[in-house]
């Protein structure tokens, strides 16, 4: 019997440890999520001005740019898959993988992937999709500059007519309790899509004077040529941060559940421990009593 209490005691100790770890991970996730959402909020002003500039130039002047037009290539498309490097975040990565396989089936083109995060690399492999590049060094501390190389790759590939379109599969962060996988068309650039992603609330969009009276230097095309790549990088950064916020929020819930389960387990274990201890005492007493009786 003494053996049993010892085993239960060890179990209690290890469950307590797990509970401590999950609690810590939960707190870390809360702070990381706050950080990511903080940056998203801080970028609102930039989004407002950049989107407005785009719609003013492209919408009112009817000036087009190669990045806004369809390619002649109709056979292949590229999906940029954003997910986490680490696991232990509930259904977050599974949802991305499912969304990817759904997208692959619905597409009438050959799908290739550019992955951000180790888990998206796995998702692409699971769906048997070719990976053209993989980035695993990005986190919520990354800056826009870190996304420029990804942007340069996709812009170049699009301009070389390698893909019909380029999309981003990311996790949309709605609030700290809800997030869902979403896919958005990155290139060719469509003003409405960008507006909806960067400024989901109508009242955030500023109404400004028409740009028709503006002088554009060196030329409207060249200004558009600066605005578009800037916006593409900004969208990549934005969707990455939303994904990161979702990841941390998912981990926060996963860890909270794990912590709650550990508490439940702990209660059960303590109950068993007390039962075993009581049984051992009862047995010992009856052994002594039995021994005394035998001596008499």
């Amino acid at each position: 019997m003494a053996v049993q209490t010892k085993v239960i005691k060890q179990k209690i100790a290890s469950v307590k440890n797990i509970k401590k770890i999950t609690k810590t991970m939960e707190m870390v996730s809360v702070s990381k999520m706050k950080k990511a959402t903080g940056i998203v909020t801080g970028g609102k002003a930039y989004s407002t001005f950049a989107v407005e500039l785009l719609s003013n130039i492209a919408g009112e002047r009817h000036i087009s740019h190669p990045l806004m037009e369809e390619n002649t290539n109709k056979e292949k498309e590229l999906v940029i898959v954003i997910s986490s490097n680490k696991g232990l975040c509930g259904s977050y990565n599974v949802n991305i993988s499912k969304a990817l396989s759904k997208y692959k089936e619905a597409s009438d083109m050959e799908v290739e992937c550019l992955t951000i995060g180790k888990q998206s690399e796995k998702s692409a492999k699971r769906n048997k999709l070719p990976i053209i590049a993989s980035f695993i060094n990005l986190n919520e501390q990354s800056r826009v500059a870190d996304f420029l190389s990804i942007r340069d790759i996709v812009v170049e590939k699009f301009r070389n007519n390698e893909y019909a379109k380029i999309s981003v599969l990311y996790t949309e962060f709605i609030n700290s309790a809800s997030f869902k996988p979403n896919i958005l068309k990155l290139i060719p650039v469509q003003e409405d899509i960008y507006k909806n992603v960067l400024l989901p609330q109508e009242d955030e969009r500023r109404k400004s004077d028409s740009l028709a009276m503006y002088v554009l230097e060196p030329s409207a095309g060249e200004v558009l040529g600066t605005v578009l790549p800037g916006l593409i990088a900004h969208i990549l950064y934005h969707t990455f941060l939303e994904s990161a916020a979702s990841e941390h929020s998912a981990r926060m819930f996963a860890m909270k559940n794990a912590g709650d389960n550990a508490s439940g387990l702990l209660d059960d274990l303590i109950l068993y421990f007390n039962q075993a201890r009581q049984a051992a005492i009862t047995q010992e007493i009856s052994e002594i009593v039995g021994g005394v009786e035998a001596m008499n």
Binding site: G42, G43, I57, A145, S149, I153, D209, L211, E217, G230
Partner: protein, 138 residues
């Protein structure tokens, strides 16, 4: 209506780097040359290259480093600068920037990996600009 002061906002993707309503004039490095924006400038949109912005306010000069972006002059002396990144010279830490510059130089000697040649040269240019400005206005 005419204003004698410029209302300036410098916005980066992560935050508003500078915001003031009482600016006399601003010198900006555009891709077609350095320009000075005075109050009541005609509406203009232009792209900015890596360089130095000098804000003149009440006889003082406020220098900033900028790593490219766009400027938009609106009517009524409102100036918006969309910068990829921008920081005030007075908030710069020379040692930190020197270290960042050294890293950028080092990266030029490393074999090519996923980061393209373009981005390496670009980051070198950006860090050099920051370093120059930090030293100049120290």
């Amino acid at each position: 209506m005419s204003n004698s002061k410029i209302k300036l906002n410098i916005i980066t993707p992560t935050k508003t780097a500078f915001s003031d309503e009482g600016i006399d004039n601003v010198v900006i490095p555009t891709t077609s040359g350095e320009i000075t924006v005075l109050p009541n400038h005609i509406p203009l949109v232009s792209s900015i290259k890596v360089g130095e912005i000098r804000i003149h306010k009440d006889g003082q000069i406020i220098p900033l480093a900028i790593s490219g972006g766009l400027l938009e002059v609106r009517k009524d002396s409102e100036l918006v600068i969309l910068a990829e990144s921008s920081e005030l010279a007075r908030e710069m830490n020379v040692e930190q920037i020197q270290a960042a510059y050294d890293r950028a130089v080092e990266a030029m000697n490393e074999p090519l990996d996923t980061q393209g040649d373009m981005s390496r040269e670009r980051s070198l240019e950006i860090e050099l600009n920051r370093l120059n400005i930090a030293k100049k206005w120290r």
